[in-house]
Subunit: 186 residues, 4 copies
C-alpha cells in the first residue's frame, strides 16, 4: 500500500482512509489552504492528517479514548499543528460553524447529516465514507431530506501498473473496494 511521505511514520489502526479516497475528496470538493474542516471519527487520524496537510484548520471528533490517543501520537508525528482532536460524540452535534467540509467516516453517519448541514457554510460539502450500499442509500436519503444540492456518489479504483524488463502489466492482485464516497453540497 502506497502512502505519501507525511504518512509513513504513522501507526495504523485496523482501518485507515487510503490516499486514493482522500484524493477524491480533495479533488471533488476543491478544498485548499483557506478551508476549515471538521472530520469524524478520527480513528488512527490518517484522514485528519491528510486534510490538515491541505486545509487551514481541521477539528477531528473522536469519542473513544484509545483512538484519540493513537491519533494524537500520529498528529504529533506528522508535524502538523493545525489538526485538533475533540473528544466528543459527534452524534450530539457539531459546535463549529462556517465549515468548508465535513467528512464522516463511521457507522450510522447519516444521523449526523443534519448537524453537518448547520455547521457548513453555503457551498460547503459533506462527504460520507461508506463501505456498504445500504449506507449509501441511507446517506443519500438524509442528504435529500436535508435539502443538500449536488448529491452524488463515487467509487475510486486504482490499479498499479508494473513496468519491468520482462514486460508491462497491471498488478495481479489489488484492492477492489474500500468505501463509496457520497458527497452533498449545502
Amino acid at each position: 500500500m502506497r502512502f505519501p511521505p507525511i504518512m509513513r511514520n504513522l501507526k495504523r489502526g485496523p482501518q485507515v482512509v487510503l490516499p486514493k479516497d482522500f484524493g477524491m475528496v480533495a479533488a471533488f470538493t476543491g478544498i485548499g489552504k483557506k478551508s476549515v474542516v471538521v472530520d469524524a471519527g478520527t480513528g488512527s487520524g490518517f484522514l485528519a492528517i491528510a486534510l490538515g496537510n491541505i486545509a487551514k484548520n481541521v477539528v477531528t471528533y473522536e469519542r473513544r479514548e484509545e483512538f484519540a490517543k493513537l491519533a494524537e501520537r500520529n498528529i504529533k508525528a506528522s508535524g502538523l499543528r493545525n489538526v485538533k482532536i475533540k473528544r466528543k460524540d459527534i452524534f450530539k452535534g457539531i459546535s463549529e460553524r462556517d465549515l468548508d467540509l465535513v467528512t464522516l467516516d463511521f457507522a450510522d453517519s447519516e444521523k449526523v447529516v443534519k448537524h453537518a448541514k448547520k455547521a457548513l457554510k453555503e457551498g460547503g460539502y459533506v462527504v460520507g465514507f461508506l463501505p456498504n450500499m445500504e449506507q449509501v442509500r441511507d446517506f443519500v436519503r438524509e442528504l435529500e431530506k436535508n435539502k443538500f444540492s449536488e448529491v452524488f456518489t463515487m467509487e475510486c479504483i486504482t490499479r498499479e501498473i508494473l513496468v519491468r524488463e520482462t514486460g508491462m502489466r497491471p498488478e495481479n492482485m489489488g484492492l477492489m473496494h474500500t468505501v463509496y464516497l457520497t458527497f452533498g453540497r449545502k
Copy 2:
C-alpha cells in the same frame, strides 16, 4: 463530468486534467500549503489551478501563446494569485529550484525528467501524465536512468453510483481511461 466549484467557470480546451487524476497526485505526493510546484504544459490551466488551490506557489510553463492566453483568463477567473504562467519551452530547462513537485503533461515528457531532477528538492516528486503505455515505459526508464527512487505507475478509475427510487446501480457508460500517472521521487 464533475468538477469542484473553483473549476466551474473555466473555459475548457480540448483535453483537461480531470479531478480524479489531480486527486491521485495530491494524495500520493502529499503536497500541501507549503509546497512549491512547477507544472508543464499549462494547456487550459486546469491542473495548475487545482495545484494552486492547494500549494503555496505554482509556476506553469506554456510555449504556445494561444494556450497561455486561455490559461491566463482561467487563472484570473479562479481568483488564485499564486499561479504564474511562464511562456517558455520546458525542454530547454527548468529555472526554479527546491521544488516539491513537478507535473509534466505533454508528449515526450520523458525528455524533461533530467531537468525535473535538478529542479526538485530531495524528496520531491515528478509526475508524468501519460496517455499511452509506451510513454509510461519511456518515462519509467528515464526516471531510473536519473536515479529517482520510488518509481511507480497508477491508473485511477472512478465510477459514479446512481441512487434512485428505482434502485441503486453504477452509471452505465463512463470514462475507462484518461492517463497513466507515473511518479518518481528524488
Copy 3:
C-alpha cells in the same frame, strides 16, 4: 459493441444481454453441449441464442407477443433449431424438469426462484441478470430461503485495449455497468 458472428444479423431490441455477461454464465456454470436450459424473458432473444449455440436445448419464456415475434425472427436468422419460444408467463411456473440452467432476466425475477428450484436437477444453476443492487439483495434472499447452495454475485467489466501506431491504451469511454449476475446452485 462487439458481438460474435452468430449475433450480427439479429435485430436488437432496447436492451440485449451482452457477450461479456453471457460469457460469465457459460464460464461459471460450466454448461456444455449436453445441457438443457430454460431462459426468461426472451426479449430480443440474444441470450437464448447464445445459450442455444452451446447447449443441447433451450426453451425461452416470453409473454409479450411483440418480443416473441422479434425473437422468433432472430432465432430463425441465427440458424439454430434447438431454441424454442414458449409464450407463457414464467411467474405461473416452469413446466420443464431436470434442467442444468435457468436464466432469469426481467423485473421481480426473485419471485421465480422457487419455480427454478423445482425445475432444476441437482447441481443445476439459476442465474439472475440484475441491474440494481436491491434486486441482487432480493434475489440472494430468495435463493437462501429456497436452500440454494453456492450463492454468489459477480459483476464483469471488460475494457478494450487500442493498439495503434501512436501507442497502446485502453479505450477512453466504455460500459461501466450492465447487470450484476447472481448465481445459485441447487
Copy 4:
C-alpha cells in the same frame, strides 16, 4: 477462486486459465457444439477442458512431458472424451485444418500466428492469452501482417459482490489482472 463443477476435481499447475477469461473467448468467438478447436500450450489443461465442454473436438498441443501427463489426468477426471493431447511443438506448425478457433497461451505465441492462419477456416478466430502489453503489441502486429480481420484486444475484470446481513459491498481484495485477450478473425 470460483470454478464451475467440471473443473473442481482437477489438479492445478502454477497458472491456469480462469473462467472469466475462458468466458470471454466463448462469448466473443461464438464457438459452439459444432466447433473444432486447437489449443496450445496445454499446461494443466484447464482451457482445453473448458473448450472441450462446449466444442465438438479439441486438440491441445504440449511439448513438455510433465504438463502433458498432468493434463492427461485432468482430462480423464473431467470425463470429456473429445479432448486430445498432442505431444508436439506448435512452433513447428499446426497439422489440423478448417478450425473454428485456435487458442494460444504461451510465451512468444505471436510466432504461431502464421500457423494459425493456415489451420483456421474462413471466419475462424485465433485468440492470444497475453500477460504483458508488449506481447499484445507483438501479437497484434503479427495478426495485421497475416491479414487477419477484426483484430481487437480485451481485458476482463470480475468483481464479486458480497451480500450479507451487515450490508452489500464488493469484495475488498481481488484479481486486478490475469491476461489481455487478443482476437483475430481469418
